[in-house]
């Protein structure tokens, strides 16, 4: 069959092309402006704007830091064309084992290292289940999630306090806060964004993540071992979950069994909004962080305006769908071609 001759299409300028591919930048600006505006006293806000303040901006940055780290891990998994549903319980699991160790007097640094190793191990387990046994990621990681849930309920039936009186507890709270704007999550996410971006762009392993998710067969035929790369991605995902678990544990000095509820789905929504492709092969850390920021802004502003969790969830869901519709229109061809 003859290929249809290409119709002359009006070429977009470079700038337009850039924004079409990265519409999350515009969405982020739009959502932030809308939030700031809606929260002002004349509109939905009460006596004064509680969203658009310096201290709330610090809080917001910290939230983006904590949940951004989790989402970055998932971004690796998405890029190789996988999905990890167990990240929520990975967070709870890691927080719980850290709390157990810290309470029983294990050196805090050692406990943190062990926790991070455990996170990597769970991630690697996910990768192994998907690539070596060949169970589809949706089902494989769902099973791991369920198993982790069981473990978390056993070691942490209610909530485990690290104990603010202990030396560990004190140090951690102090470190978490540092000075006002500069909290531990913010520092960490800045460093990790830089490191992960370099990893994805400048190392062969990171670069080949995109091949794995973009065209598995082509990767196979070129001898890059996409299965091994997938396992690395899942392992990095586990590492990030563990880090997120530690941060959440530091914040309140406690680990609770339901700490990970819902944050997995929020992370998925956030990176999809950011433009990371679920089918794999496309996405980067900047997209991920901006996606997380959009979701966190929406949640935060609605909390400030005293809407119930139910309304927040509803609005978030609607926004995700709207963004995806917008994405279909701007990247147009994908839909129209089928």
């Amino acid at each position: 069959m003859k290929q249809a001759e290409k119709l002359p299409v009006k070429e977009d300028s470079k700038v337009v092309k850039f924004f079409k591919r990265n519409n999350i930048i515009l969405i982020l600006i739009l959502v932030y402006a809308a939030a700031a505006l809606l929260a002002s006293p004349g509109l939905l806000g009460g006596k004064k704007n509680t969203f658009f303040t310096v201290s709330n901006t610090y809080d917001l940055l910290t939230l983006v830091g904590v949940y951004g780290i989790l989402a970055m891990g998932l971004t690796f998994v998405f890029i190789v064309g996988g999905i990890d549903l167990s990240i929520g319980y990975q967070v709870a699991f890691c927080a719980a084992i850290f709390a157990v160790m810290a309470r029983s007097g294990v050196n805090v640094i050692l406990a943190m290292v062990i926790t991070l190793v455990c996170g990597c191990a769970v991630g690697y387990l996910n990768g192994t289940i998907v690539t070596r046994i060949g169970i589809p990621p949706l089902i494989g990681t769902l099973a791991v999630m369920t198993a982790l849930k069981g473990i978390v309920y056993i070691i942490c039936p209610d909530s485990l306090s690290v104990g603010s009186a202990t030396l560990a507890g004190n140090t951690l709270s102090a470190v978490y806060k540092l000075g006002g704007a500069i909290t531990l999550p913010v520092i960490l996410i800045v460093i990790l964004t830089v490191v992960f971006t370099i990893f994805l762009k400048y190392t062969v392993t990171g670069s080949n993540f995109y091949i794995t998710g973009g065209n598995f067969e082509a990767g196979m035929l070129s001898g890059i071992n996409p299965n091994r790369l997938s396992r690395i991605a899942y392992t990095l995902g586990g590492f990030c979950s563990a880090l997120c678990g530690l941060l959440l544990c530091f914040r309140t000095n406690t680990a609770t069994y339901n700490m990970g509820d819902g944050i997995d789905i929020t992370a998925i929504c956030a990176i999809v909004v950011g433009g990371v492709k679920m089918q794999g092969g496309r996405g980067n850390m900047a997209m991920c962080i901006m996606g997380v920021a959009v979701i966190q802004i929406i949640t935060n502003v609605m909390n400030k305006l005293h809407y119930s969790t139910a309304v927040v969830a509803l609005v978030t869901g609607i926004v995700v769908i709207l963004v995806l519709i917008l994405d279909r229109f701007t990247s147009g061809r994908d839909v129209l071609d089928d």
Partner: protein, 501 residues
């Protein structure tokens, strides 16, 4: 080594798959800088041979020598390292990645452990110049046309210092201009002493491009010759020249009135102006090579795919708006090409599979009548001689031939006026083939109008009363099947030639 020296030799290659001898002693050699074409019908063993050459399959017997040393490739990677690369029919482009990364996939230049982007883009420019392509190395490969993507694949082979590039049906999705471009590049590659093994159904391309041509048939190489010493007709004769066993037993059936009429059916870029009629008791064969558009036409006739213009009529009544449900209602049945994917539910029983399209008739007020179902299934198991211990057997456990009989039963239960069968004997052993032909004969005798789509020339000629050839989405000829009709004539029309007289 210099131009024209033999550097790859395969001797008496045998490849056995469970139950099939796909290659049965193939020998041929490749010289530096030559274009060597492989020709053969579908299923002749070309693909298997390529897979052996590229390391995707290991040979069962025989020798494979490169520069006089025997090689045993365990992966395509090893073959690539020895200079044997392949441009696959299915392109393996990573669409969201840059042209540069696509070219150097698995082979990215590094400096201090990091990707050396400066060198990557410089090297890419270099390769693109060799390919006469003026594109930005940073642009996404997904934005390129199919022809350009194919060039990228050839470029990939160049980055790996290929000495032999195998091209498997490279022009099957290219426009004419793109094809010409490909030929230019091939000539350039030859100048640089890179050998090409070219596989194509399009014999004019083969004649244009090749230095030597090897014909493969039934897993054996029939002949290798210089292009100058042969003609297109001789190639065709060599490709098919085997005696026809009399497994068809075609009986003369009284041809009745027109049942199915297809008028000027067209779908942009897929097929155009397809005209034909099928009468009661008549078997019409459709022949064309893979990708000619046969199946697409049939799907449109059945209403499973849309068409832009034209009409389909059954006993004079136009089917409109056309969809499969309406076609079935009017007595059409369609046994698709891929029975496992489109025709059967492998994890359900024979009975369920056979009766699934007839549940309305076999139930009362929406409640299935188990007894009726069983009786119907038993009847067909007996009449079509499905070899099975019981009608409760899962279809997935049956052999290919018996599965095909289940598909036919399913459609025959709807008591069709028109039966379309697409590749009815693909992957079926010879014995079952004969039985399937017998069933088709019986149906024709009982007055069903039948369309048989096949890429096996003997099959269509054996079962049909009338034969239509399709080439690149167009009907090229219509023959009455008589003993005088030769395979050469049919095949040349299916390859785009015009009918004699």
């Amino acid at each position: 080594m210099s131009r024209g020296d033999t550097f790859i030799e395969v001797k008496d290659i045998v490849k056995v798959f469970p139950g099939v001898r796909a290659l049965d002693g193939v020998s041929f050699d490749i010289r530096e800088g030559e274009c060597h074409s492989l020709c053969g019908e579908n299923g002749a063993g070309k693909s298997t041979l390529i897979k052996v050459l590229t390391g995707a399959h290991e040979r069962t017997e025989g020798q494979y020598l490169i520069d006089g040393n025997e090689v045993h490739f365990k992966s395509t990677q090893e073959a690539i390292a020895m200079g044997v690369s392949c441009v696959y029919q299915e392109l393996s482009i990573v669409p969201e990645q840059s042209v540069a990364k696509n070219l150097f996939i698995g082979n990215l230049p590094k400096k201090n452990g990091m990707i050396d982007y400066r060198k990557l883009y410089a090297d890419t420019k270099d390769i693109l110049t060799q390919l006469d392509m003026d594109i930005d190395p940073r642009m996404n490969a997904g934005e390129l046309s199919i022809g350009q993507q194919q060039m990228i694949e050839i470029g990939r082979a160049l980055t790996r210092k290929a000495r032999l590039i195998i091209m498997d049906e490279p022009t099957s999705s290219l426009s004419e201009a793109e094809t010409d471009k490909l030929f230019e590049i091939c000539a350039k590659l030859k100048e640089r002493n890179i050998a090409i093994v070219y596989i194509s159904h399009k014999l004019d391309e083969v004649m244009h491009l090749s230095d030597r041509i090897t014909v493969i048939r039934d897993g054996k190489n029939i002949v290798s010759m210089n292009k100058e010493d042969t003609t297109q007709e001789e190639l065709i004769a060599n490709m098919i020249g085997r005696s026809l066993e009399n497994m068809y037993n075609k009986e003369k059936v009284e041809i009745g009135e027109t049942v199915l009429e297809v008028i000027k059916l067209s779908r942009r870029n897929v097929f155009h102006d397809i005209d034909f009629t099928v009468h009661k008791g008549e078997v019409v064969g459709f022949f064309g090579l893979v990708g000619a558009g046969r199946s697409e036409i049939m799907r449109a006739v059945f209403g499973a795919d849309p068409y832009d213009s034209g009409a389909v009529r059954i006993t004079g009544e136009e089917l409109k708006p056309h969809n499969p449900a309406l076609s079935i209602e009017h007595g059409m049945a369609f046994a698709t090409e891929d029975r496992k994917k489109e025709g059967l539910m492998l994890r359900l029983s024979i009975m369920m599979n056979m009766t699934i399209s007839n549940l309305k008739r076999l139930s009362h007020f929406g409640v299935m009548d188990k007894k009726k179902q069983q009786d119907a299934a038993k009847e067909f198991v007996e009449s079509l001689r499905v070899k099975t211990p019981s009608i409760a057997q899962l279809v997935g456990n049956l052999s290919g031939g018996n599965q095909q009989k289940v598909v036919l039963s399913k459609w025959l239960m709807t008591m069709p006026k028109v039966l379309i069968v697409d590749e009815p004997t693909r992957g079926i052993d010879v014995g079952s083939k004969a039985e399937i032909y017998g069933i088709l004969n019986e149906l024709a005798k009982s007055g069903v109008a039948i369309i048989v789509v096949s890429s096996e020339i003997e099959e269509v000629m054996g079962v049909s009363d009338k034969l239509i050839t399709i080439y690149e989405g167009a009907k090229t000829a219509e023959f009455d099947v008589t003993p005088e009709l030769t395979r050469e004539e049919v095949l040349s029309c299916a390859l785009g030639g015009a009918p004699k007289s």
